[in-house]
């Protein structure tokens, strides 16, 4: 190739190269156009995600007060030692490495492992709680040696009353997988992004939405190593609402003390407005055991089959009502004109069915003599009620009990309420596959039978007798009024005792209940020492059925087979200010066991110097 040919060839090929360069640039430009213009939003999001982090700010839980502004649950500043989960942790040497700073026991490690397997954690999870200032100071001075440890400052739920009122106040626990599922289902999860705890029972659970508050967040800019560069925006969390309860914790404490380690429940309710002043379930537990994820060991202890301390007996304990049902059955008889005064019987101490098929004994050998309805309530005459029941029939009995709220939820503002049971022919057929016997109607009338009631139902029914004008459901939150109008529509609760029964009939029943604490009544001893009049009804419920001709001997029976003692009352009888229902499990006779507890509560509450 000579020079002229070279120049020509060079020129052509240089042009080819330049065209290639333009094509290549064009391809690059198209690619960049695609990234910057067409896919811009996508990469903008990625870039923001890269650099902007949203850190949730959990709200402080609302404080729970009693009606006198006494704190039942609040938050206490506390420091926890946490393990950074991004680090690989050698548990074998952990305690040894850290021994000079804070002692970490094998149990701590075991509990830690249990905790992280059950609950939901972000990037660190706690191993030691409630650090002292000395421990914190020691740790901070040597922090660089322990990169896997973090000290976190936060608020811990605090229950100043300890075990007292545990069922009522409830407890909180660390959020677990099923909590998250529920929160997601209800669209609440985003509000819990920074929260570690959630209400699990009692008021803590029922009012969780109010108590929890609204989560805030902090938008921060971070670099590639996740270091904070600057804070872009802070939306502070809104603390949860404080909840004021109708409870009077002084009354509550006195009632608890009077139980004296016996099992059972007590409900004290203001019959004028449905406010619950005392709410006792015994035995109880320490709610703070749960706050940091309850250990297996404690959990097993609390699930003790015999004592069942976790059971809220007030709303979830279903008991046979025993004779406390008699005033209500009596009212049913009056209402249905089955026992119109001055109807009376001569009680021989037993009742024989009209066809002679079966004989039922009265609790008193030899009977009570001449008995009318008022005396039948006062002396708790079984014979009178056997006949009354048989004549009245199950439908009439249940109709009246239904109006008093038995067999359905009272809709008190706390979870897990049981319905109790009003049994009838249909129920028995469906449930047991057997026919209903007339004799069962007779024992239903004295509160044995299949009927089951909860202490809250008994208390509320008693309040309704005490004040037939009561138009509030029982409630625990002060001034909540429990939306009585809404409930009327939704649940067709019959609030109107006054509409269903005549004042004359109710007054007769009230008179009967007053006689209970008078001379010949089953709780006469209460009336003797009382400055005010108490209307009451005692009850004894069999835990275990005696075989035919077997004699009940309290001394021979083991404790857990002894009868339950029941007691309902309101006082002062003329102007009721407090209605009470008490159940003492295996407490024997209602009047002598449960009566004094009620008396103490009344005395305290009605004392003029009380407030």
């Amino acid at each position: 190739m000579d020079k002229i040919l070279f120049k020509y060839c060079f020129q052509t090929r240089l042009r080819i190269i330049f065209i290639l360069i333009i094509i290549v640039f064009f391809i690059l430009l198209i690619k960049i156009f695609y990234l910057q213009v067409i896919e811009h939003n996508h990469y903008k999001t990625l870039s923001n995600k890269n650099s902007i982090k949203v850190i949730p700010l959990p709200p402080n839980r609302g404080i729970i007060f009693d009606r006198n502004n006494k704190i039942l649950a609040d938050n206490k500043l506390s420091f926890t030692l946490e393990l950074n989960r991004k680090h690989k942790i050698n548990f074998d040497t952990l305690a040894y490495r850290f021994k000079d700073i804070i002692e970490i026991t094998d149990r701590d490690i075991k509990n830690y492992r249990e905790r992280i397997s059950k609950y939901y954690f972000f990037d660190s999870s706690p191993i030691k709680f409630n650090l002292t200032s000395i421990q914190i100071a020691k740790f901070i001075s040597q922090k660089y040696k322990y990169p896997e440890f973090i000290i976190k400052q936060g608020f811990v739920r605090n229950y100043p009353l300890g075990k007292s009122s545990a069922h009522l106040i409830g407890y909180i626990n660390r959020i677990n997988i099923s909590d998250i599922k529920n929160l997601k289902k209800n669209g609440l999860f985003s509000n819990y992004k920074g929260s570690t705890h959630i209400g699990k029972s009692g008021i803590e659970k029922y009012y969780e939405k109010k108590i929890h508050g609204i989560s805030g967040y902090k938008k921060i800019e971070v670099d590639a190593n996740q270091n904070l560069i600057r804070t872009i925006q802070t939306v502070p969390a809104i603390s949860g609402e404080n909840i004021y309860l109708t409870i009077d914790s002084r009354l509550q404490k006195i009632a608890e003390k009077e139980f004296n380690n016996r099992k059972g429940a007590l409900v004290a309710i203001d019959p004028n407005n449905g406010e619950i002043l005392a709410y006792v379930s015994q035995p109880t537990f320490d709610p703070s055991l749960f706050t940091n994820g309850i250990s297996q060991e404690n959990w097993l202890k609390l699930n003790n089959k015999v004592n069942r301390p976790l059971l809220d007996r007030v709303i979830s304990g279903a008991y046979p009502p025993g004779s406390t049902l008699k005033p209500f059955v009596g009212l049913a008889a009056l209402h249905n004109n089955v026992r119109v005064p001055p109807f009376s019987i001569i009680d021989p101490g037993f009742y024989t069915m009209s066809n002679g098929s079966k004989t039922f004994k009265d609790w008193k050998k030899g009977g009570h003599g001449n008995v009318d309805l008022i005396k039948a309530i006062a002396v708790s005459c079984d014979t009178f009620f056997y006949g009354l029941g048989v004549e009245l029939g199950i439908p009439n009995i249940n109709n009246t009990l239904d109006i008093f709220g038995f067999g359905k939820k009272t809709l008190i503002d706390i979870g897990n309420e049981k319905k109790g049971l009003l049994a009838d022919k249909e129920w028995k057929k469906n449930k047991l596959g057997k026919n209903w016997y007339q004799g069962e109607t007779a024992i239903t009338a004295i509160g044995q039978g299949y009927t089951l009631v909860t202490p809250i139902q008994l208390a509320y029914a008693t309040a309704k007798i005490a004040n037939e004008k009561i138009d509030n459901t029982p409630h625990l939150r002060l001034n909540s009024n429990n939306n009585i109008n809404k409930l009327k529509d939704d649940q067709s609760i019959s609030t109107g005792i006054i509409n269903s029964f005549s004042k004359k009939n109710i007054d007769l029943i009230k008179l009967g209940m007053q006689r209970v604490t008078e001379t010949e009544g089953t709780a006469a001893f209460l009336g003797k020492t009382s400055k005010y009049k108490i209307a009451a009804k005692t009850g004894t419920a069999q835990v275990f059925g005696l075989k035919k001709d077997e004699v009940y001997d309290e001394k021979k029976l083991p404790d857990h087979l002894k009868d339950h003692a029941l007691f309902i009352a309101y006082a002062p009888a003329e102007n009721p200010k407090l209605a009470i229902a008490i159940i003492v499990e295996n407490g024997g006779h209602g009047g002598s066991t449960a009566g004094p507890i009620a008396k103490k509560v009344f005395d305290t509450y009605l004392d003029k110097n009380y407030d």
């Binding site: 360069i21 990625l46 890269n50």
Partner: protein, 364 residues
């Protein structure tokens, strides 16, 4: 006297080309100020680099082409010796031996090869200019392959490709027959699997991560992903100077050198990119025009090769940060931070200008 000096400069120097380069360098400094978050130490360094670059440009622009032609083979041999020295006493950095420690600065002989190889190949063809035959092509091929393979072994794939390209483009421009070209390309494609096996793991990973950068987002794909995010988030108008969050928050690696264009793209958007492309296109257009106006074989080939070299660097850099090419460490001419790149680019332009303005000074 001063007027004489200025007129001498302006006579010798090509104003359109130089003003375009001045604009690019200024853009580079501006982006660098943002990428370093106004780190005055680095900015000062870069000013020093630019001054050295300008001096190199001025020096070569005034160098007689005759001398360049004369010294080309010696220069080439010296570069080869330096390259071999690197593999013996070189400093290892990022797993590759590329640098020689000269006390004050670390020095990369492979960069020098970018200039000395075109000069040497140009001189070969100049020697055979009256009868460019297969002999000249073969000699050139050997002259290319020796430094190419040494640099590839360092390992520095990017520079090896650039050095190779600057040499091969001369063989192409010198009129190698199309048949030979096409059959070579065919042979090359056949040998791709073999070449693949000779690549280092990290080089293979880079190419693989190009195909799917999300496969290994924190490993070899990380740079690519972060760079693409930077470009894409810039949008049409950009985030504005100093607002590259990808760079300010350290998501982008090497923001001052290899990835400076990502920072530019994020801050100035597509508009800015188009401007940069126009500036580069004009530089290559101008260089090629100068080359085609030159009279002798040596000048033409060297000028075309040096400007093509600059194009290859530009293409590889922008191609890698926009995810078209694998990540190979090639700085962007005139814009990236770094002395070697700046001086080599400036010197290349200086040589082109010198060859053009002193075109009569070489005997045919």
């Amino acid at each position: 006297m001063i007027r004489l000096f200025i007129s001498k400069i302006s006579n010798n120097l090509d104003t359109p080309l130089l003003s375009t380069i001045v604009v690019l360098v200024l853009i580079g400094v501006t982006v660098l100020a943002s990428a370093t978050q106004e780190n005055f130490y680095l900015l000062g360094n870069q000013f020093f680099n630019i001054i050295i670059g300008v001096l190199a440009l001025y020096f070569f622009a005034n160098l007689q082409p005759r001398r360049i032609l004369f010294y080309a083979p010696y220069f080439y041999v010296i570069c080869l010796i330096l390259l071999l020295l690197v593999s013996i006493i070189g400093i290892e950095s990022h797993g590759a031996k590329r640098w020689i420690d000269l006390g004050l600065i670390n020095f990369q002989p492979s960069e020098l090869m970018k200039i000395s190889l075109p000069l040497f190949i140009g001189s070969i063809y100049h020697y055979y200019q009256n009868n460019i035959s297969i002999k000249a092509h073969t000699l050139s091929l050997i002259a290319i392959l020796i430094p190419f393979l040494i640099i590839l072994k360092q390992p520095d794939l990017g520079t090896a490709i650039m050095v190779g390209a600057s040499g091969f483009i001369i063989i192409f421009l010198a009129g190698l027959h199309w048949k030979v070209i096409s059959s070579s390309i065919f042979l090359f494609l056949l040998s791709v699997p073999f070449i693949w096996n000779t690549l280092y793991d990290y080089q293979q990973n880079r190419i693989l991560s190009l195909l799917d950068p999300t496969k290994d987002p924190f490993g070899s794909g990380y740079h690519s992903i972060q760079s693409i995010i930077a470009i894409g988030s810039g949008g049409f108008f950009g985030k504005g100077w100093g607002n590259s969050s990808q760079s300010n928050l350290n998501f982008l690696p090497e923001t001052t050198t290899d990835f400076i264009f990502s920072v530019f793209a994020e801050e100035f958007g597509f508009i800015g990119i188009v401007l940069i492309f126009l500036l580069y296109s004009f530089i290559f257009y101008r260089c090629f025009t100068l080359a085609s106006r030159m009279q002798n074989t040596f000048s033409k080939l060297v000028a075309a090769s040096l400007s093509f070299s600059l194009f290859v660097a530009t293409f590889i850099n922008i191609g890698m940060i926009s995810g078209i090419l694998p990540i190979v460490g090639i700085p962007l001419p005139f814009i990236s931070y770094g002395g070697t790149s700046m001086v080599v680019s400036m010197a290349s332009i200086g040589i082109i200008i010198g060859l053009y303005s002193n075109k009569s000074l070489i005997a045919n």
